[in-house]
């Protein structure tokens, strides 16, 4: 684990005011927002920027981080391999308030190991000092599955890492492995909820929940849009012109026969009802026609194209451009 220089990440001095931190964050967040950024490493940079902002915009977290940075600079808390380890008890006297005051659940699940080891269990520790009742915070994470997994359901192990205190009072990393059964028919952006798998509750209140946002990995054949699947269906010019019955494999296995209508054009969309992702209602499978030209690489094929040109002499695909012929 490496020590993270959050000031360098945001490009501000350690003496930066809250306003300077906010301005630097907003500028970088716009530059690296994955929806607009042209940078190759936008996603990783955005995560680092969010993480730095989460700490530096919060007075208590920032004070604790500064104190930690000072101790690291003086003592060099390095493990045997030279990587950073936070010193025990480094955050005594600090309390962090995540949740309402701190601004709610950021994507802590996406943050670095450094962040979770330093700030990961702070809410829990500070909560034990106070006598109040509250349901535990919810946790958020993402899970990526394949199209096949979304069709059939899948069992996956996910590991959640938390810094806890053991019986001897020593900080201990605990990796909680959950075997999660994702039901068939989930679609991108859908959340699955694991009740009681968030932070523990306080004063007898129930624990929070864990929400997993489903992401679907790119597939060589299918594109997913909600519950619908899209697939390109190559057809020959003859099939497109004259119409045809063609065999198409379906995502759930098996083959269906599909009617290509006569005079079909490239890009024509054929719908196979309820052959997309299962669910209520089930999604559809859309076939996008793509006319594949046979190569004119034999005398016979060249002749056939020439005959076609003669037979369709009145066909001018560039007529709307105001020109005709060659």
């Amino acid at each position: 684990m490496e020590f993270k220089d959050y000031y360098a990440t945001l490009g501000v001095a350690r003496t930066a005011t809250d306003d300077e931190v906010r301005k630097a964050y907003r500028k970088l967040a716009r530059k690296y927002h994955p929806d607009v950024s042209k940078e190759a490493d936008a996603q990783v940079r955005m995560r680092d920027i969010n993480e730095a902002n989460d700490v530096l915009r919060d007075k208590e977290k920032r004070a604790a981080y500064d104190a930690l940075a000072d101790r690291v600079a003086r003592g060099g808390y390095a493990a045997g391999d030279g990587s950073f380890q936070p010193p025990p008890g480094w955050d005594e006297g600090f309390e962090f308030h995540r949740g309402a005051g701190g601004g709610g659940p950021a994507d802590h699940a996406d943050f670095s190991e450094f962040f979770s080891s330093v700030f990961g269990n702070s809410a829990r520790r500070s909560a034990t000092k106070q006598n109040y009742r509250a349901r535990g915070e919810d946790h958020h994470a993402a899970i990526e599955i394949s199209v096949e997994d979304a069709l059939h359901g899948v069992q996956r192990d996910i590991t959640l890492r938390a810094l806890e205190t053991d019986a001897q009072g020593q900080p201990t990393f605990v990796n909680h492995t959950l075997t999660v059964k994702i039901p068939a028919g989930v679609h991108p952006g859908q959340f699955v909820r694991l009740t009681g798998r968030g932070m523990p509750g306080h004063g007898g209140e129930p624990a929070g929940d864990l929400y997993l946002e489903v992401r679907i990995a790119p597939h060589p054949l299918y594109r997913v849009d909600g519950s619908d699947l899209y697939m390109t269906l190559p057809v020959t010019p003859t099939e497109a012109a004259l119409g045809a019955q063609v065999q198409v494999p379906t995502p759930s296995g098996g083959v269906v026969e599909v009617t290509v209508p006569p005079n079909a054009r490239s890009g024509l969309k054929l719908r196979l009802k309820e052959r997309g992702l299962p669910g209520k209602p089930p999604g559809h499978l859309y076939l996008l026609l793509d006319i594949a030209l046979p190569p004119a690489d034999t005398e016979a094929a060249r002749k056939a194209y020439e005959q076609l040109a003669q037979a369709a002499a009145s066909f001018h695909p560039r007529r709307h451009l105001g020109v005709q012929g060659a």
């Binding site: 929806d35 709610g104 950021a106 919810d138 990393f173 909680h176 909820r193 390109t232």
Partner: protein
């Protein structure tokens, strides 16, 4: 440092996918965003989330995954950029449109 690691393994028999059959209540949406239910009512007012019966009291509202995604994103925009909820609603709509167009563009190139 004496930090050690240990592992615990837990089998979760099933999870609930938030869907038509399993929506989440307004108080759960609020809790997931680290806010109170009055904030959810504001989201409904500006149209960032849309419960099926907006005229009923907030305790009777229920929401789906799209609503949770938009609510979390709105909270982030509000917190990190200090935007009002009306502006957040517009940003979310534009973001949705950018992603839709990018997906369509990608599909055309393949």
């Amino acid at each position: 440092m004496s930090t050690t690691s240990s592992y615990t393994a837990v089998t979760v028999e099933s999870v609930v996918a938030i869907s038509q059959d399993h929506p989440i209540a307004a108080r759960d949406l609020a809790h997931a965003c680290g806010v109170d239910i009055a904030w959810v009512a504001q989201l409904v007012e500006v149209g960032i989330v849309e419960p099926p019966k907006p005229a009923s009291p907030p305790d009777g509202w229920h929401f789906y995954s799209d609503d949770l995604q938009r609510a979390l994103e709105a909270r982030r925009l509000e917190r990190d950029f200090g935007v009002g909820l009306d502006a957040a609603a517009l940003i979310l709509d534009l973001q949705h449109e950018v992603r839709r167009l990018k997906a369509a563009l990608l599909a055309q190139r393949r």
